[in-house]
């Protein structure tokens, strides 16, 4: 019980403390190592002597001492900068407060999500430094061996040091472009968690919670960015539906069959409110549009109440900003719901002929669905079979098999 409380406390205070350490020491790797050591010490000391009044300050003080030790050990011949020692002494005296420069966590976020790092490295570092996940937890979440994850984190920190990726928030003229990258990384984490199904490690579903945490952090630290709010809204609205998404046997439950009473309506309300704020800024973007689509689904108490014409229109808007075959497929499905299966089918035909979705099981699956609705059973059967030949995830396979069986 106490261990869990300490763990949560460390996770909560951690990002702020670490970010401050990086700024103080100017050395990402050193700060991280010192921070980890302080956390280990915290677990032991707090278990024995109880929680300190100011855990953040405690961690900072201990980590700084450790950092100085490490610096001495790494370069024993180099005398430590007097300012550093002075600052250390001063802070020990005022160990009651943790001065946080407002931008510290933001700096950390932009640094770990720098495009000079591979996406997998960005994700790993973000989860580690901003969400406080251990290497083991990240490895389990991404279904890879722990040494692989550990190696990747080491290489990423090395790149930050060797290539000198600066620890800073990008200047105003670069901010929107770099923010795009940050949001994309966060969304990658969310989707990884969202695709986790019943029976898989709980930590994978928890990736959604971590992504939302990061999303909230961006919105908190960078107020007034509509796409950041759009992404947060999108994640909240999707997360709200997660309880209904899988059947007890692990099969994927499609949207129109989901038990909407188990949707988290508090999350839907919150997501909608965040979206409204974003849209009010008058600067539309793809995340806001996707969130708007999700909000329309969230608003419908039954599938029959869904505002499909509005959704189809939103997909039109999405196609203008982020064209692509998968968006087109979703748009075609929405058009089918709004204007009848024939219209959607024609579009999907064109997509199939273009070859852009070669090997993508959701295209024949969508076609099969519409053919089924039109009563064109034989063609639907063939389409489901085509989809089954391509589908990989067992939970999705079961859904297709069920649909095929239902055709008789």
């Amino acid at each position: 019980m106490l261990a869990r409380a300490i763990d949560q406390l460390v996770r909560r205070e951690g990002p702020r403390v670490l970010a401050g350490l990086i700024r103080w020491s100017g050395d990402f790797d050193l700060a991280e190592e010192a921070f980890q050591a302080a956390c280990t010490q915290a677990l032991e000391a707090w278990t024995q002597r109880g929680l300190p009044r100011r855990p953040g300050a405690w961690l900072t003080t201990v980590a700084r001492r450790r950092a100085v030790d490490l610096m001495r050990r790494r370069r024993p011949d180099v005398p430590l900068e007097p300012e550093l020692l002075e600052a250390l002494a001063a802070d020990e005296a005022e160990s009651d407060s943790v001065p946080e420069v407002a931008d510290d966590r933001l700096r950390l976020l932009f640094t770990v999500c720098h495009p000079a790092l591979a996406p997998a490295a960005q994700i790993g570092l973000a989860l580690r430094t901003l969400c406080g996940l251990t290497t083991a937890e990240i490895a389990r979440a991404y279904l890879e061996p722990e040494p692989t994850t550990a190696q990747r984190l080491v290489r990423a920190k090395r790149k930050i040091a060797e290539a000198r990726i600066p620890y800073e928030v990008p200047p105003a003229d670069r901010l929107t472009e770099r923010l795009e990258g940050v949001l994309s990384t966060i969304y990658l984490v969310f989707n990884e968690g969202f695709s986790a199904t019943e029976g898989e490690s709980w930590i994978r579903a928890d990736l959604c919670a971590e992504a939302i945490r990061l999303g909230r952090l961006v919105v908190e630290l960078l107020p007034g960015e509509p796409e950041a709010e759009g992404l947060l809204a999108l994640m909240l609205l999707h997360d709200a539906r997660r309880p209904a998404r899988t059947a007890p046997d692990g099969t994927v439950v499609p949207l129109e069959e989901q038990d909407r009473t188990v949707w988290d309506h508090a999350l839907i309300d919150e997501g909608t409110a965040v979206l409204d704020r974003a849209v009010a800024r008058g600067n539309p973007g793809p995340y806001q549009v996707q969130a708007a689509i999700a909000a329309l689904h969230g608003r419908a108490a039954h599938p029959g109440e869904t505002d499909w014409p509005q959704i189809a229109a939103l997909y039109g808007a999405l196609l203008r900003t982020t064209p692509g075959p998968i968006v087109e497929l979703n748009a075609a499905a929405a058009v089918a719901m709004a204007h009848g299966p024939a219209a959607g089918l024609a579009w999907m035909e064109r997509l199939e002929q273009s070859g852009a979705l070669e090997g993508y099981h959701l295209l024949p699956a969508a076609q099969a669905d519409l053919l089924r609705r039109l009563g064109r059973t034989d063609e639907a059967r063939l389409a489901y079979q085509r989809a089954l030949a391509l589908v990989r995830h067992p939970a999705e396979r079961r859904l297709l098999e069920r649909r095929l069986a239902e055709l008789g």
Partner: protein
């Protein structure tokens, strides 16, 4: 910190430029070099002669192997380089993106290791 800015591009593209197009390109590079000097970050650089003038040397088991051409056939070829001294990667990337070659080619930015 010093970075090397390696300019990769399609050699075929460069050699097939018309005379006025080539002159335009050189003018852009001259301007770029001047900006680097003016900013105080320029430490060196040069255009390279085409890969047809390259020779690759390997010494294996004490034996020298000399072959015609660059070390490998690549889709884009190394056409020139700059050496710049700037505080961090962000600054280096800024300069690299302003290099005329960035528009059609690929600019690799790599820090120099500290001298032994």
């Amino acid at each position: 910190m010093q970075y090397i800015v390696l300019i990769y591009g399609s050699e075929k593209g460069w050699t097939s430029l018309s005379k006025p197009e080539a002159e335009q390109m050189y003018a852009e590079y001259r301007k770029y070099s001047e900006e680097l000097v003016k900013a105080g970050v320029m430490r060196g650089g040069s255009e390279l002669k085409p890969t047809s003038t390259a020779t690759t040397v390997r010494v294996r088991g004490g034996k020298r192997q000399v072959t015609d051409g660059p070390f490998a056939e690549t889709k884009e070829q190394l056409g020139g380089y700059y050496l710049i001294e700037v505080p961090n990667l962000e600054s280096a990337l800024d300069w690299a993106s302003r290099c005329p070659g960035a528009r059609d080619g690929s600019i690799e930015v790599r820090p120099l290791a500290p001298s032994m």
